[in-house]
Symmetry: C2
Subunit: 316 residues, 2 copies
């Protein structure tokens, strides 16, 4: 590193920092021209191209005292890669925009980028371009491009008679957030789940191949996102609590905070689990578990009843 | 509009505002699934796919008292569309991330989106997805995807013996910014050029077809961006001031501010003109004018001499 470890972005300067950041991002076969020109150039093979974008804002989506820079990088990449997963696709290229105050340590940006790149490596995707600018607050903008081998799985294809199924951990991140927001650091496994979600990256393409009729990644909360499937498909969805796994560490957190442990599972987002519907006679792929049923009607119920607990959050 | 004109983002809420914004964006033939799912789905025809991303930050790239919301939308779209233009490509799809304080009038977001959509319409591109979240400061993140009919024109292909040429207005936006930053509103034509740049969208693909060896869009300043071409191509570039057009309104601004009118042309960015090099014997397409020459060596000179005026700016 050609600058001292405590140097700020303002001291290092835009071009020097970009010079340090760029080599952190390896380029896959699909990248003909990577960062450094007016635009990156990609080789897109046949198939459907899928694109998604997300913002991550300091103080709203992360706090520097709750998550290290590398954690924030992992999370920012994961939430975008998960959107491609939820289409049944595989991500291949991402862009990052980083707006940050001039007094941010350059080290933070480098650690963030390293975490981001490591998460992308899990699926073989490349960071092909970016932008770096000053701002009052750290704002990270990520766009991801992927491809689907078969037709993308939309939110709108659920049909009465389908089963509702989930893949991946659910409620862990919300439990970790509850712990951190009360000033604690344990159970450590939940805090780590908040800091570095582990989306089930293989599950999306497998669900698509197995004939999933609709799919979404759980980012607003299990019930809120089931609600998006129900709304977009014009169906009713019932979630069975007896089928939901409540991980042991959540019981401890619930006992300490006076919350219902199930509320973390039903209301929590940001584990980036996948929720999908399959025809009633389909064989679910490994890693998927039935947790409910699709019927005619509208809205989401829990064990046949309306649920009045916490189910997500708004951004303003 | 289902809310009062003075309503804020916080009052309207994320989902209601997205409901109002989405219909502003028409969807072209290349869009199979537009906004509203986990990801948009695009039909990509054969050819090279080009991708670029840019951030626009309030107080740094725009001020609400210097440009209306629709102007900011036009500018944010233009600077991204221009990056595709500079590859010799045509933009087809964009994503927008908008981070904004809860007390921002919802009207601002709608006007911004309308301006953005109108600029995209100029090239037939569609806004296929986005994200909306809270922040302390307005930060706009745009990613654009396009396609090149032939090989993309990179920054690295200039060769000794090539001519340097420009397409589009140059220095107008910088003149407008100088006027606004001194509290004035005229010459109006310069202020309007700052608020709504007019990139020469046809010029990029035309240059590619005519055999341009390198190309860049002028966003840092003419000499700074000529410097990027020189550096990336490993050549020297000389710019001829006698070939540069200094528009009449810039003389008035220069006289009022004590600046050299040429400094706006040489140092100004954000008109999103294109700078390209062509083989010495090439016929330049309409709209392109020779303004210099490429030789062995390195760096940029003006009329054969080093230039010590203002030539760009840093972001921190």
């Amino acid at each position: 590193m050609p600058f001292p470890p405590e140097a700020t972005l303002a001291e290092v300067g835009e071009f020097a920092l970009i010079g340090e950041l760029t080599p952190l991002f390896g380029q896959g076969d699909q990248v003909l021209v990577g960062p450094g020109d007016d635009a990156a150039v990609l080789r897109i093979r046949q198939g459907h191209v899928v694109v998604s974008t997300d913002l991550v804002v300091e103080g709203r989506h992360f706090r520097k005292d709750w998550a290290g820079a590398a954690d924030v990088g992992h999370r920012a990449a994961a939430q975008n890669l998960s959107d491609i997963n939820a289409m049944g696709g595989r991500a291949h290229s991402l862009t990052i925009g980083l707006a940050a105050p001039g007094d941010l340590p350059a080290r933070w940006a480098l650690d963030f980028a390293a975490g981001f790149a490591a998460e992308c490596d899990l699926v073989g995707a490349s960071v092909v371009g970016g932008d770096l600018t000053g701002s009052d607050q750290v704002v990270i903008a990520v766009t991801v491009i992927g491809a689907c081998a078969q037709s993308p799985v939309l939110r709108s294809g659920a049909r009465p008679g389908d089963v509702l199924a989930i893949a991946g951990r659910q409620g862990w991140s919300a439990g970790g957030l509850a712990v951190l927001s009360r000033g604690f650091r344990s159970p450590r496994v939940l805090v780590e789940a908040y800091r570095r979600p582990e989306p089930p990256y293989a599950a999306g393409p497998q669900a698509a191949e197995a004939g999933a009729t609709s799919m979404i990644d759980v980012s607003d909360g299990l019930l809120a996102d089931a609600g998006h499937l129900a709304h977009d498909s014009g169906v009713a969805i019932d979630v069975w609590t007896s089928a939901l796994e409540v991980p042991e560490p959540l019981h401890a957190v619930a006992a300490a905070t006076g919350a219902d442990p199930l509320s973390f599972v039903l209301g929590g987002g940001e584990d980036h689990s996948l929720l999908a519907t399959f025809p009633g006679d389909a064989t679910l792929p490994d890693g998927w578990a039935s947790i409910g049923a699709v019927a005619e009607g509208e809205g989401v119920t829990v064990d046949g009843e309306a649920y009045d607990g916490e189910t997500g959050w708004t951004h303003f």
